[in-house]
Amino acid sequence: MTRTTEDEARRYLLGRLSDDEGTAIERAYFADPERADAIAAAESDLVDAYVAGVLPPADRAAFEAHYLASPLHRDRVETARLLRREGVERRPAPRRAAAAVWIGLLTAAGLAAVALWWTRAPIRPEATIAQAPPSTRAAETAAAKAPAEAPVPPKRIVTLRLALAAIRVRGAEATPELRVPPHTDEVALELAAFGEVPAGALSFTVRTVEGTPVASGRMERSGRTLGTARLPAGRLAPDDYIVAVSSADETAIAQYFFRVVPAR
């Protein structure tokens, strides 16, 4: 894939293309599945770059505002974090690798010294090999004690939690208010259960009270509550919101109401 197309794939995934540009890309990959494979590869690279913390600031902002709006994409990022952690943990430790380099160099130096001595003096290789010069022993010790190169830690998602009770009559009780501090990545809404907790997967939708969709996804289930709805904090401008929960067959379960107030 050419460099230009890689840029287009990234902009497509970050929601930065116009509708016409996006449609053109889609027509291309519908016609040629290999182009879809290439966009999938660009997506993996984008996710891995985000997890490694190396995305440029503008791309990072677009990634968090657009790509992470999808719960499936959030799942993908979490899998990438775990894969990265697993891969990093299984790499040879840099400390051992650095020591290996030192020992290799010292061995080469030692062999060169033996070869030079061999040409000039009677042969006594055992004594030469056993007595490494103090300077090399110090270098080995220093290499063994050299601090390991610290792996770049994956960025942590700052999560803000708000516990909500189901709506009785809007306005009859104090409205739960949420103030989202700066640098918050995610809001987790913990939804109280009432009556019997339904089994199976549940979905949630967050909309403004005017009906504008904000986010949707699968609830994270837990035994004592109805579950947790996670959404990017960037999507919650100061406004009034309704969270609607439904079962897998789209049966409405409950709704919750909260208000986002301006951060101080």
């Binding site: 995934l13 990959y29 519908f30 016609a31 599945p33 879809a36 966009i39 999938a40 590869a41 993996s44 891995d48 490694a52 999808s70 499936l72 994409h73 799942d75 979490e78 899998t79 775990l82 894969l83 990265r84 697993e86 891969g87 990093v88 299984r90 790499r91 939690r161 516990a163 009770a165 189901a166 009785r168 913990e190 109280a192 259960a193 009432f194 907790v197 339904p198 089994a199 199976g200 979905s203 939708t205 909309r207 009906g211 969709p213 949707s216 996804g217 699968r218 994270e220 289930r221 837990s222 035994g223 004592r224 509550t225 579950g227 309704i242 609607a244 439904s246 789209e250 409405a252 409950a254």
Partner: protein, 196 residues
Amino acid sequence: MSPRSDPDARALTPRAFALLLRRLGDDPERGGLGYESLRRTLVRFFDWRGAHAPDVCADETLDRLARRLDEDASIEDVRGYAHGIARLVLLEQWRRPRELPAGAADERLPAEAPPAEEDPREGCFERCLAELPEDGRALILEYYAAEGRQKIDGRKRLAAALGLSDTALRNRAQRLRDRLERGIRRCLDAEADTKS
């Protein structure tokens, strides 16, 4: 309401489905491969466009495509037509209003917020990783082990060691990653069902 629960949707007939397969391949085997390829493209489309259930939307799109092909034999670009239907399905999903439920019964509220529970994702990840074939597990961990400047060189060496092109290695690693993601999702859903 998901596309598939629309009660007005007509059931897909075997004839319409067979016609779709014929339009996607010259023989039954190629037709089946063409169907899977188109379905995979549709799932990716809905995924990248942020749809709630990409696989459900993809199946709905394919059903509608099959019905249209049964009604109109003049459609030539089947994959292009599928794209058009998919855009419509996506718009319908985003525009469909949700009905608010009736007021809940008067229940006592919990006195305090429930304690944070251990994230089951890590356990699911470990289980799903262990379930991969040994060579696949080794490949995917090796593929994602390198970082920075070493990443490209490391992947080239891995491709050479496996006798694969860079693209083939990339596609194989991507399929393993997709399989891992699907397994983790199923595992998390099963954990949720167990706790509820």
